[in-house]
């Protein structure tokens, strides 16, 4: 009886030869990531140590990463003070994987972890962010946890009482048609599975369309796996994983990858052929309210947002820049672009994409979470609609419950910015 990738990773991390779905294990954590919500983790962490007489120190500072991204630069004294407290904690604990608010090494947590080679195939990664599933793109088992659970990980170095999840095998065949890509695939899959179709389960991706996909596209897939409720999304490590980690992240050490056994048990198999896939749009107010682009073409859009941990990488910006180059954003529509990291921003400058965007009338913002979670910039007016390459369209997600958010690929977003309404980039 074989194991899935998730089972193999959890077995290794729990020091067991074999586990199967449903068993309870306590895996050692290889990487523990937080962003500004480390402020709450620190509070809970100190509570854990209260009355023990022990000094509150994280179990292994080399395995803790903290990245400021949600509110950068700080939008309020409260956030700035939280960030200040976190900096003090980082210094006191000697946490080196710390990315402050900077134009060079700053960025969104789910971009920074791959970019700096912090995530490797086979790792157990936890993060106080639901989109920690992103890191399955590099063959890791990565899942989101709450702040109190992170405090427990910082203290014990383990995730306690984890139920080994069942795995859904997703086999993706065919070549993507022009202007159709990973974002359309994951939206289609979420539409098929529903917002809770993979709750407590893992999505393990296979097939020729995955083998031929860049790590950037795989991050978009795994990032949004949680929108179907998945605990984790995993692309088993392969040649592309090793290429990315060597060439782009500068990793020098050996990179062993974890493959599922041929006789692993899957709870379900889903097959998708992308050769006939149409561009997809998730409509308000749930991510599984997915429609074909043709069904929503013409819908008036007041703000187009391109960026985030889902689609703010160089290939995403290239796809959008190719469409807006030499053209103008429609009057009455705002276009906001926020690169996923300082490194991506610098590359977009070198390639001229930033000029393309600005000449077209777009506003290019600093890298970070920006308008994605409706905190401090890019808010929507009452009754307005946004079209965004981000990953969530819940009511109020972009800061105003009286607005609407549609989700799509960078190509659809860019074409729509020019039209002032949802438009087909192939037209």
């Amino acid at each position: 009886m074989g194991m899935t990738v998730a089972e193999k990773i959890l077995a290794r991390a729990a020091g067991l030869a074999f586990v199967r779905a449903g068993e309870v294990v306590e895996p050692r954590v290889d990487l523990a990531m937080s962003h500004e919500n480390a402020a709450l983790v620190i509070n809970q962490f100190h509570e854990v140590f209260e009355g023990t007489g022990l000094e509150p120190k994280v179990w292994d500072p080399s395995r803790v990463a903290i990245i400021f991204d949600h509110r950068v630069p700080a939008e309020s004294p409260k956030t700035a003070t939280n960030q200040k407290r976190i900096r003090e904690f980082v210094a006191a604990n000697g946490i080196a994987k710390f990315h402050d608010i900077r134009g060079d090494v700053g960025g969104i947590c789910h971009q920074i972890l791959p970019e700096y080679g912090y995530v490797r195939p086979g790792m157990v990664v936890v993060g106080t962010d639901s989109h920690t599933t992103s890191h399955g793109a590099l063959g890791a088992f990565a899942f989101g946890i709450g702040a109190t659970e992170m405090a427990s990980v910082w203290a014990l170095g383990r995730a306690v009482n984890v139920e080994v999840p069942e795995t859904i095998k997703v086999v993706v065949e065919g070549d993507f048609p022009p202007m159709v890509g990973p974002k359309d695939l994951i939206l289609r899959l979420i539409g098929l599975l529903s917002a809770q179709g993979a709750n407590f389960k893992v999505l393990e991706f296979h097939g020729e369309a995955i083998a031929g996909m860049s790590t950037s596209g795989r991050i978009a897939l795994c990032n949004m796996s949680v929108e179907a409720g998945a605990t984790a999304g995993i692309v088993p490590g392969d040649l592309e994983t090793v290429r990315y980690l060597r060439d782009e992240a500068g990793v020098l050490e050996p990179i062993p990858c974890v493959q599922p056994d041929a006789d692993a048990t899957y709870v379900r198999t889903v097959e998708i052929d992308v050769s006939t896939l149409e561009p997809q749009v998730a409509c308000p107010h749930t991510v599984d309210n997915v429609k074909m682009l043709s069904e929503v073409v013409g819908t008036k859009i007041h703000q187009v947002v391109i960026g985030s941990c889902t689609n703010g990488r160089l290939d995403d910006l290239a796809a959008a820049a190719d469409i807006v180059r030499g053209k103008k954003v429609a009057p009455g529509t705002r276009m906001l672009v926020f690169p996923a990291s300082g490194r991506v921003f610098a590359q977009a400058l070198d390639k001229g994409y930033v000029h393309d965007f600005m000449r077209a009338g777009a506003v290019v913002m600093n890298s970070g979470c920006g308008p994605c979670l409706g905190v401090h910039e890019g808010a929507l007016g009452d009754g307005e609609a946004a079209l965004s390459t981000t990953n969530r369209n819940f009511k109020g997600r972009m800061g105003n419950p009286k607005s609407e958010v549609y989700l799509c690929s960078p190509a659809v977003a860019a074409a729509s910015a020019l039209a002032g309404a949802i438009a087909d980039p192939r037209a």
Binding site: V24, E36, N37, A39, L40, N43, Q44, E47, V48, F49, E50, G51, T52, G53, L54, H70, R71, S76, K78, T79, N82, G127, T128, D129, S130, T132, G144, I145, G146, A147, T148, E149, A151, S152, A155, L156, V160, N161, V162, E163, A195, Q196, N199, F200, G229, T231, T286, L373, G374, V375, H376, R392, F394, K395, G396, R397, G399, P401
Partner: protein, 172 residues
């Protein structure tokens, strides 16, 4: 016996429970003011203390989907609210157990606002309609945390045991 104070549909997100713009407020003592902040009328009743502790929110499938923000749990717990849902998203369910927010899984429940509910170990009784509905047990893996009174005391015990310190034996 407690009253159903709010009935909600499927896919209630953490943005609904605790909007992202209040996320800089983190401490459990401070988060309750922003519970359901965008449902202004309900939020006002909560803040006015007009809703007694133990009051029940009845919800459909996938309650608490979305972000991992723990404020979505602490904000409900601060008002002493109880959640009964057909199903609950993974991270929210774990956060609830970790923080001690009372959540009950009851896929078949039929109840309306104003109904009186009672909980037995295995059932939810709707005293208004006279019907009983089976509960689905919380994941067994988490029982040790529930028994310890939450993840903080649970972890504290484990930590002390790991340092060979006297104290209660490690749970689980």
């Amino acid at each position: 016996m407690d009253t159903v104070i709010l009935k909600l549909g499927n896919d209630i997100s953490t943005d609904d429970l605790y909007p992202g713009r209040y996320m800089a407020t983190v401490l459990p003592a401070e988060t309750p003011q922003f519970a359901f902040a965008d449902r202004t009328e309900f939020n006002a009743r909560l803040r006015a203390g007009a809703i007694p502790a133990g009051s029940i929110i009845v919800a459909g499938e996938n309650f608490g989907c979305g972000s991992s923000r723990e404020q979505a749990c602490s904000t409900l717990k601060g008002h002493g609210l109880v959640v009964v849902a057909k199903s609950i998203a993974r991270i929210f369910l774990q956060n609830s157990i970790n923080l001690g927010l009372k959540v009950v899984l009851c896929p078949g429940l039929v109840a309306d606002e104003g109904d009186e509910l009672e909980f037995t170990p295995d059932h939810v009784l709707n005293r208004t309609s006279g019907h009983a509905y089976a509960q689905v047990k919380l994941p067994a893996a988490r029982q040790g945390i529930l028994d310890a009174g939450g993840l903080i005391p649970y972890t504290r015990k484990r930590l002390m045991a790991a340092h060979g310190m006297p104290g209660p034996a490690p749970v689980g």
